[in-house]
Symmetry: C2
Subunit: 141 residues, 2 copies
């Protein structure tokens, strides 16, 4: 009984979008940037299609959706098929850099939250906000 796999065609647009996202590596893009990019490329991809693919890709965990604090346009970031699934992410509020953190202590948190607080943390969505080393040292505000 093959429950999932609701049948999915591979289309030109799909490939273009995924390829572009993958080409960006760690960096994040807004929907607006994507729309503009494909417009300039005259790729012929409607923004509705972009929204729809982003939604699917995010649901499958291939990209990640961030909602910035200003609540405006969302940001998406390529995560790939397995990279970035196992570690947490930190983002610097000063310089905006995204830091990938593999750390045993943090891994224990996952278990602790589940056992002690009944909370199943979602590593894909959780992002720590703060200030990175680079931004801390120069000017200690």
């Amino acid at each position: 009984m093959k429950t999932r796999r609701p049948a999915s065609y591979s289309t030109r647009q799909q490939k273009l979008i995924l390829d572009y996202l993958a080409s960006l590596g760690d960096s994040h893009v807004t929907v607006f940037q994507l729309v503009r990019h494909f417009e300039q490329e005259a790729a012929g991809i409607g923004q509705t299609t972009i929204y729809r693919h982003l939604e699917k890709l995010a649901a499958r965990g291939i990209i990640r959706k961030y909602v910035l604090n200003d609540g405006k346009s969302a940001c998406y970031q390529y995560v790939g098929n397995d990279v970035c699934r196992e570690h947490f992410h930190l983002t610097c509020e000063q310089c905006g850099s995204l830091i990938h953190l593999d750390c045993e202590l943090l891994d224990t948190i996952q278990g602790h939250l589940l056992r002690e607080h009944g909370f199943q943390i979602n590593k894909l969505k959780t992002v720590f906000y703060g200030t990175c080393g680079k931004c801390l040292s120069p000017y200690t505000r």
Copy 2:
């Protein structure tokens, strides 16, 4: 030369809004809930006014603005002068509830991140996403 204090009157609406937010303590409210609340109270406060006050209060750090992951309506929470500054927050992606977590283990994270990874975490902004106990038990997906 009195630089700041750009002249601010104290109005009925201002007081009502701040008092209500303060009365909620830790819990968070959406703009929609605020609007509805004052409507039911027949308080005569337009939603424009609510938006404007929330903006000012957030700018002054008296309340905190959260943007949930769905990017829809923002949530505001009274912070007052110190409450909620010391613990972390978890939010359930299923039911949307906000959980306040005072936990020693998590507190060690702050120090660990700083010492080992040079990252100064901002507890005010960091929110853990996941699934809460209530939503985990019923249907284990």
